[in-house]
Each structure stands twice: as C-alpha cells, then as structure tokens.
C-alpha cells in the first residue's frame, strides 16, 4: 500500500484491493447462483466456487493457514458430504432438455417449484432490507479504517499454531471432544439399526434385535469425514 499520506483514498486502489474486489464479485455471484439455481447438484458445485473465492480472500488478507484449512475442510469434505446427502435423499433431478424443446418451460418451472418454497418474494424482501441496513451501517462505521496488509503476515501457519497451542489449548481440546461427539452422533443417527428405523428402508432384515444391530450400516462410514 502506498502510504504517501496517512489516509489512502478510494480513488487510488492498490493491486491487492483490486484483486480483492474482483474475487469478491465472483464469490458473490457464485453465492447468488448457489441459492437461486433450481438444479440441486449445481447448487453444491457453485458452493465450491463461493467457498474457494472466500479462501482466496483469506489469502489476500494474509491469513494463509485459514485459507488452506478452508480449502481442506469446506471444499474437500463438506461439499462432498453435501453431495452424498443430495444423492442419498434422492433429490429430484430434473431431466435436462435443450432450450428449444417444447417441455422446456414446464420442466424448468417444476424444478424451481421443487427447489424453492412459496415464500420466495418475502425472503427476497427480507434479504434486501437486511443488506441495505447492514451495508449502510458498516460503510458508515468503517469509512476511515484501513488494513495494513503489507507490514507482516498475520496468519501464517507458524503464527497460528503458536497462538493456538499457547493460548487456546483448552478450547481446542474441548472442540476435539465436540467433534468426537458429533461423529458418534452422526453414526448413530444414520445407521439402519433397530426395529423401527429399518422398516421403511430397503433391504434390512427385520430380525435385527431391538435397536442394537451390530453392523453400523452402509451410511455410517461416510459420516466420518464430518
């Protein structure tokens, strides 16, 4: 950042700012497509673009370790979990027809009806009102605040690890216990054991005992990534 004056202006953006704004626009567009597309798998894939854009923003903010954690956890495992969830719940996948096909409009409307609920316009009004209010407040509050991204790296792996294991050890360990509990809970919730949960599912033997079937079921191993 060129510190000719104490207050760098809006009219002389630095390279980092330009890249940040461009990546931000791409991220925002990907997020909008994520919440508006009527194809469910496309929504998960556009989420990858949005999360990757946020990882690039972390890199631009010199938080390198968080950027790579973001790529590993979100893009790597959360999106895979979401795709598995979409496939396991038999999400309504509308057959794609070319644009000139006579049933194109009907199929599109059906897909939109399956993905979006009826309160789309109130939701849009709420989101726009919240965006207008928050953008006004945030821009007014931080009009004269600048981040110095040139002086030193704030979030390299060394800095983050030092801080995390010197000052935040107890929350870190508590978080590992929480992750273990979530893992066990996800396995228990999603396995096809028991007399009542296995009945509407397909291909489960009824004589498996009262809720204590021993094999964890085919869906249990998938949850371990979470």
């Amino acid at each position: 950042m060129t510190l000719a004056a104490a207050h760098p202006g809006f009219l002389s953006p630095t390279g980092v700012e330009i890249v940040f704004v461009l990546v931000g626009i791409a991220t925002l567009a990907a997020a909008v497509v994520t919440v508006t597309t009527s194809k469910l798998v496309h929504a998960a894939l556009w989420l990858v673009a949005a999360l990757g854009g946020i990882a690039v923003e972390y890199l631009l903010l010199t938080a390198e370790f968080i950027a790579w954690v973001q790529v590993l956890i979100y893009v790597g495992s959360v999106v895979v979990l979401l795709l598995f969830g979409l496939m396991l719940t038999k999400a309504p996948i509308v057959p794609t027809v070319p644009r000139g096909h006579p049933s194109y409009g009907a199929l599109r409307a059906e897909a939109r009806e399956a993905a979006d609920s009826g309160n789309r316009w109130p939701a849009l009004a709420v989101a726009l009102a919240a965006a207008a209010t928050l953008v006004t407040v945030v821009v007014d509050a931080f009009r004269s605040s600048w981040i110095d991204v040139d002086r030193s790296v704030q979030g390299s792996a060394g800095v983050t690890g030092e801080v995390l294991f010197q000052h935040w050890v107890l929350p870190f360990e508590a978080l590992s216990v929480l992750l273990l509990a979530a893992l066990v809970g996800a396995i228990i919730l999603s396995r096809k054991g028991g007399a009542d949960a296995g009945e509407p599912a397909q291909g489960t033997e009824p004589g498996q005992g009262a809720g204590q079937g021993e094999q964890p079921g085919p869906t249990a191993g998938r949850e371990e990534q979470g």
Partner: protein, 124 residues
C-alpha cells in the same frame, strides 16, 4: 486495504445466505445456505483480526473453531436429513409440519393424508 471491502462482502454473503435459508425448500439446500452465512462470519472475523493486529489472534482462532463446529454441524444435519428422508420419504421442509400450531380450534395438528406414506411416525 480498506476495511469496508471485506466487511461489505461479508454482509452481502450473509444476506445471500439469509435469502437461501428463507426461500429454499429442500433441507440440504438450506444447509448450504447456512454454510454461506457461516463463511460470511468467518470472513468478518479474519478481516477484523488482521485489522486489529491482535497478539492473541482471537479472530483467527475463533474462525478455526467455527470451521470445526460447522463441519460437526453439517455431519449431524445431514444425518438428521437422511433420517427424516428415510422416515418420511421427503426432505422438503415445507411438508414437515407436525409440530405446527393448529390454525383453528377444530384443526387437528396432524394431517396424515398429505404426508404420503408412514404417516404419524414421530421417531425422528
């Protein structure tokens, strides 16, 4: 870098997430929107941490914790959605309305006819 850029981007991402949570019908799409909102908060935390030059790096530590909690949340949430789909045959949030308030004095809270199969099953 001006602080307003990451702050405004986080606000806009959060509002996109709000729209998704309110407007989507499929439960997994709602979870995707929740992920967007969590990421907006993370971006805010990292930006303010870098701005304040905190020696404890509270923002980045909290961001890492939020990422871990979000991973746990998505695991549990998807397991619940799978269970609901297995029991009800649908993952649409609009149709899971057993716990709603009755609208009138003679309106029964359960409406088994519109639930398709496995009506009245409450073991979720």
């Amino acid at each position: 870098m001006h602080l307003a850029y990451p702050a405004v981007l986080a606000v806009l991402l959060f509002c996109v997430g709000i729209y998704g949570v309110l407007a989507r019908r499929n439960a997994i799409l709602v979870l995707i929107s929740v992920e967007l909102m969590l990421n907006a908060v993370n971006l805010n935390l990292v930006a303010f941490d870098v701005w304040l030059r905190d020696t404890l790096h509270t923002g980045q530590a909290l961001t890492l914790f939020i990422i871990a909690v979000a991973a746990a949340e998505i695991g549990i949430g998807l397991a619940i959605v799978l269970l609901v789909h297995r029991n009800r045959g649908t993952a649409d949030i609009d149709r899971l309305r057993d716990l709603r308030e009755p609208e009138g004095p003679d309106d029964e809270p359960e409406a088994p006819a519109e639930q398709g199969h496995s009506a009245g099953r409450q073991t979720a």
